[in-house]
Amino acid sequence: MSKTDAQWNAAPNFPTSHYVDSRLYTDQEIFNEEKEKLFRPAWIIACHESELAAAYDYRLFSHPAGVPLIIMRGEDAKVRAFYNICPHRGNTLLYDPSGNAKRVTCIFHQWSFDAHGNCVEITREEQGYQNRFCKKDAGLREVKCEVAYGGFVWVNLLDDCVPLREFIGGALDILEPFMREPMEVFHYHKAHIHTNFKLWHDTNSEFYHDYMHYFNRITGMLQPGYFERKYTPFPNGHASVGSMQIQYDKYEGSKERAVGWPGLARGGWYMVDLFPAMTYNLRTSVIRIDTSIPLGPNDVVIEFRGLGLKSDTAEERAQRIFDHNMIWGPFGRNLHEDLLGVTGQGRALRRGTGSRWILQGREENNTIHDEIGMRHYYAEWSKRMGRPAYDPYREGRPEPVRAAA
């Protein structure tokens, strides 16, 4: 039966943990708070160590909290992270997304910095500053940086942040046996999507939408073991999904994957969703990593990486790339569908459309079509934001002034 306005806007007949107010995806005030309360204190994947193979290699990263970062390997092989901001007049220090620079020199006034963040050159230093200011006063702002969990470079903007291992809280233990061999990035692309970053994470956190994917229905949902896959929630809002044997040969044009992954059972597939917006996805022969960079309530850039083993032969690498592209490349069967899905959500959830609630009410003993992954995420979201996800303006919080739709 269709609904009246009052019925449509009435709270769903579920426990409050089982639905979310759609304003979580549209309000600028909430978005601004998320950058400070979710992203700034979180450990975030900036890149992979294989992108910084040699001394002085660097990689730029737009931190989701808004800070531009330089990730750089020093002559001591250690990877460090700095603000990509000159301490002199605030100019951008490095412009290209990657490169090699023994000295980081600002194009504006030629101040130079080494790979440790020390200032090593201030042009006409004595003439301008006499003894009032010198190179030791002009270091770069360094942020916490660790290489871990498969060789990924993790950064944290807080000097007093929790240790990375405590932040992960055991969520990646399920993947650690498969990440002991050095890996290498072979695929990178960005997708700029008009949707909320949480909607992409939601898509990675529930498998009920396999109905959208012909490939997944044929190779997974119709095969034994699919409905036994289980979600495991971990501290800090992370969750993992157990494996099954995917029957790749059931899709016309595909075949059983000829290249596997060390230690992983034939056709295996594990996923780990990390709060607030990262996903590890090991699917038989390839690891895919998603990292989201939110730009606004309905605007996100998603970075996609595909990785193989550093020890791959040319034939093995070509096969991994083929497997990756079949479903996950920009022309892949599944990625396009997933991105279309969240684009549609972004379109329907814009402010003023009349959208009201997002249901997360499926309970199936934490198995694959249970929506526990999303519920677990929004419990953490509510805790960190100090707002219940089902009613973010409760307890006297004023609602933002609504602009005309």
Partner: protein
């Protein structure tokens, strides 16, 4: 190279675009040799690597096309605009480089946006009655394709 032969090669490239634009995949594959190979590639300055984004033989392309109705796809039509720049004949084949622009037109309202730019690097076989595509490498400059697409360029 004779003018007529160059014209025939240019027409092959343009007919391929028109066939793909109208979703006539049989017509497109009819322009290709049985051992046709199609690749989409791009260079990533971020990871400093050549990337392959799609790589299929003729059978793989046929399967990709026949599977399309089973998938959820963006149905906005694409318009491929190619300009043949160079044709270098060598015996029974020619290397052909064309500039490529791909436009996407929204179904609702008909707004058109530039979707991608790049080049076709084609190998054309000249030993039959009409030239045929034996190899197409689509080298993309554009690497942000939004939600992507199921139909290759």
């Amino acid at each position: 190279m004779k003018t007529e032969q160059r014209q025939a090669i240019e027409e092959l490239v343009y007919r391929g675009c028109l066939a793909l634009d109208r979703g006539d995949y049989k017509a497109f594959l009819a322009l290709c040799t049985p051992d046709f190979r199609y690749t989409v590639a791009a260079y990533s300055p971020e990871i400093k690597r050549e990337m392959v984004w799609l790589d299929q033989d003729c059978k793989g392309m046929e399967t990709l096309f026949t599977n399309l109705p089973r998938h959820n796809s963006d149905h906005s039509p694409l318009t491929r605009h190619a300009t043949v720049y160079t044709v270098d004949a060598d015996g029974g084949q020619a290397k052909v480089v064309s500039a490529l622009q791909v436009f996407r037109t929204q179904l609702d309202g008909g707004a058109t946006e530039l979707f991608a730019v790049g080049h076709f690097h084609d190998t054309v076989v000249l030993d039959g009655a009409a030239p045929k595509l034996a190899r197409r490498l689509v080298r993309l400059e554009t690497r942000q394709l939004g939600f992507g697409h199921h139909v290759p360029f």
